[in-house]
Symmetry: C2
Subunit: 246 residues, 2 copies
DNA sequence: CGCTCGCTTGATCTCCTTCAAGGACAGTGG
DNA sequence: CCACTGTCCTTGAAGGAGATCAAGCGAGCG
């Protein structure tokens, strides 16, 4: 069983060089493990968290609820990712972080991270970079929802989740877990559930992907990429099988 | 005449407490000043910059060009703001930074900033926070373009630019400079120029704002806020006249 | 003076929304 | 073991916000 600290250390290492000593220091961080039921928030609008979240299993999402009750999802978070690093230096949450399905998380206190930041410049750099990559992802979501027609947008989201899953070694034989409902996709893309449904069917009929009972199967990755015009550069991954395009 | 370093120091101070010594250290940074013609890029997709940009006058924008040649603007940058702090720890640009109108910028070398980061924890914290606030702004742009109908989205963008202008003391008597064309608004909001034009007219007719020859005049701030359902929290400003809502 | 750039207007089209309802499936309790 | 209920997926029909196409207009400028 890998520790929470080690999970974080590995994740950081996927964005750049992490010296052995720094890796060990991060891996040694103490954490509380918590199980979060499905559809439950871990952090809420207005909170002042004093710990950082690491996803251990399950799936999380970041979202806001608009004035008319409309939910906009800002991002999804796979196991091994650290969704709330920004709370280290932002005074309060302006959005919500919740579990999509039953999810196990690790909580590492800000204090411990601050010590790492002060004492380990290389680890600090990767922590910082991680928050910057998240910003780049948000910008890509902006582009997706502003410019792309539904079928491209949906394909693009599949591409992103697939590449990110691959980057944390959660893809096997072209299959990865993606336990969402169509409504989650709709709220991520700014579409209605009805239209998402129809778009999904159209995508299925291309033969590029299959998505059933929370499992995404990519049958034809080049075709999926082509449909979405997907360029993984914005994920700033050091190296993955799928992210070779530069 | 205020120096580039001092401009940056002041800007950082608008996001949190900056001790006198740290302020002085940032203010003392050496910078190159450059004049950029309108519609000219300072940083391009794929670049590896080794300096940070501070806007001194004019207006900048961050954008990408999609596969079909469609431009999506990710953000605008007013004088006193620092648009490219993320280049400190991101390996390469995945977007473009350009001047909208003739713009004067200051360039501070990464090396100098790295020294500040290493030696001045408080300044470092504010630099980091600045990048995190930018991420929060990107998320709000996502919400705006995904969920809001055109008239609300446009009003919301006006609200943001107005509050940000106010935060850097560029509002006088309800007027601030906003030297954009309707096409820029369109590309920021993911709309067509034609529809932006009609939406703009509708907004004008509410009497809340006026926007002519690059000048934004807010006649009725409460009304504008109401139209957009604008909540300035996401800007994480320490205090401004307009951002009092928490 | 002619030219370009930005703004404006009209007409038509289409992608997506809205509203409404039916169906598959799993979990629960009798 | 089977009705009961909730959740999620699916389908149909109609309506609307915004896109597209096309053209005219005004102002600054070489």
């Amino acid at each position: 069983m890998i520790s929470v600290g080690e999970t974080l250390a590995r994740h950081l290492a996927s964005f750049g060089e992490l010296p052995r000593a720094d890796f060990e220091a991060v891996a040694a961080l103490r954490a509380e493990v918590r199980d979060v039921p499905r559809q439950t928030d871990v952090l809420r609008n207005g909170d002042h968290p004093n710990h950082v979240v690491v996803v251990l299993s399950g799936l999380m999402h970041r979202y806001t609820i608009g004035p008319e009750g409309k939910r906009q999802i800002h991002s999804f978070y796979l196991p091994n990712e650290a969704p709330s690093l920004e709370t280290l230096y932002i005074d309060y949450m302006d959005n919500n972080l919740g579990a999509v399905v039953p999810t196990r998380i690790g909580l590492i206190s800000h204090d411990q991270i601050y010590r790492i930041i002060d004492e380990r410049p290389e680890a600090r750099k990767l922590l910082w970079r991680q928050t910057l990559v998240q910003a780049a992802v948000f910008r890509q979501w902006l582009v997706r929802n502003s410019n792309l027609p539904a079928h491209m947008a949906l394909a693009h989201l599949f591409c992103e989740m697939y590449v990110r899953a691959d980057a944390v070694d959660l893809v096997e034989n072209g299959v990865c877990s993606l336990p969402l409902t169509q409504e989650y996709f709709a709220d991520a893309l700014g579409l209605t559930a009805v239209h998402t449904n129809r778009t999904l069917q159209a995508l299925r009929e291309t033969g590029a992907i299959e998505w059933r009972s929370g499992q995404l199967t990519v049958h034809d990755w080049p075709k999926l990429r082509e449909i979405a015009r997907f360029d993984p550069n914005y994920l700033h991954l050091r190296s993955t099988r799928l992210a070779r395009s530069r």
